[in-house]
Amino acid sequence: MSPTKTGVPRAGPGAALDRAETARYARHLVLPEVGREGQERLKAARVLLVGAGGLGSPAALYLAAAGVGTLGVVDPDVVDVTNLQRQILHGTSDLGGLKVASAKETLHDVNPHVHVEPYPEKLTSDNAMEIVAEYDVVVDGSDNFPTRYLVNDACVLSGRPNVYGSVYRWEGQLAVFGVEGGPCYRCLFREPPPPGMVPNCAEAGVFGALPGVIGAAQAMETIKLLLDVGQPVAGRLQIFDALAYRWREIEVRRDPGCPVCGDRPTVTAPVDYDLFCGTAPTATPGRDENGVAQLDPGDLIAVMTGNTSRTWDPADLLRLNLAWDPTDYPDLGFARPFLLDVREPIEWDAMNLARLGAVLVPMGQVPERLDKIPRGRPVVVYCHSGVRSLEVANFLAAQGYDEVRNLEGGIAAVLETNPEVLGLGE
């Protein structure tokens, strides 16, 4: 193998095209920049897609159609109905199934000559180096900051280009990181944002066709790297504004002080990215490191109604409706907490804790709507599974709310323990 100008190894021998492939790739074969040699190179190439979601879908479809011989797909998730608005690898009949399974099926249908290697698992500090080493180029279509830093570091440490894309509402970013002499993701974003600062797609929304644009561009940049043609978007972060239809280019150079690709790197193996990003889930009940207490879902009824038997008594419902504001009913004998739901309205509509007096303020609106959250009274925060609400609970504690608790396991845990208190579709 001879190195190319971007450091991507050239495909070895043994990738000759058969007659069916020659016909299939006819429009590539006539391009001087591809030709038979280039197409054979694509056939021998191995590309890893981290995430089979909004970005991974179009990227994988174009890479498969282009005849990239092996596509690794890492994704631990199953297909959810809210994915289908943009994740075009998956269809309605795939709901509830593993994304890597529907990805493999769809890609095989697009191009049966392509081998798809599914990884139905999360990319972690333990498996990333081993998996990345198997591939020539990595396409980062992940959906969270810990994975973004992990992909970056594993790529730099393994000498693999990282074709980065990300989306938020109507805006996207695109860049090639980790090629020789170029910057990496950490040169651009040295520190992760504070947890909870940047909402994810579920919280903020994303325009469905946007990841189509960015993901297709990731496929294009990947193929250019594999063919060693043109100029990759290395060192040139692209920021796309779909509403204005405008691409902006920002020149980013390698930072000699970068902890992973700099002159004196301090990160020489994958680290704990949940810790680095401040997103570490709290494993034990009670208090987390920031001092916000966890509330056991089994205690929720007792805490909200003063009924310590932990069982739901319909009389409590009446009492709660009367005692909407506990300060009006001091004889109740307990400080009834303010129950704060920080999910999105669509999640609230599906199921909620209105029967226990819950009030909805979606996570992204909490900082602007603190006036909706009373002080001088305990606050219990919940979301679907307890992750978003922990961020909000910590935020409220930092804002001076003194008795904040996070409902551990979220409304999903209440569904398990006390489904009778849930308002369904109310």
Binding site: E171, L188, M197, C201, I250
Partner: protein, 79 residues
């Protein structure tokens, strides 16, 4: 100088851009401090913000000149 906001920063600022007047030879860090002092959502601009001056990535000590275009680059993780 003209400051551009994207993605989550755009929502903090409530606008895609703004004009900031600063003393001569002010740095990027001084600009960020001035933005935070405006209060509202901008008060919550994180400690570390990636910045480009005239479409080139720049550090906090970079000295600004009148008429510079300063873009705040938000981290975005959605996929």
């Amino acid at each position: 100088m003209n400051v551009l906001f994207f993605a989550s920063h755009r929502e903090l600022a409530g606008a895609g851009d703004t004009v900031v007047a600063l003393p001569e030879r002010s740095t990027v860090n001084a600009l960020l401090a001035a933005l935070r002092e405006r209060g509202g959502g901008l008060a919550r601009l994180p400690e570390q913000v990636a910045v480009a001056v005239n479409r080139q990535y720049a550090d906090g000590e970079t000295v600004l000149a009148d008429g510079d275009e300063v873009a705040l680059i938000p981290p975005v993780a959605g996929g």
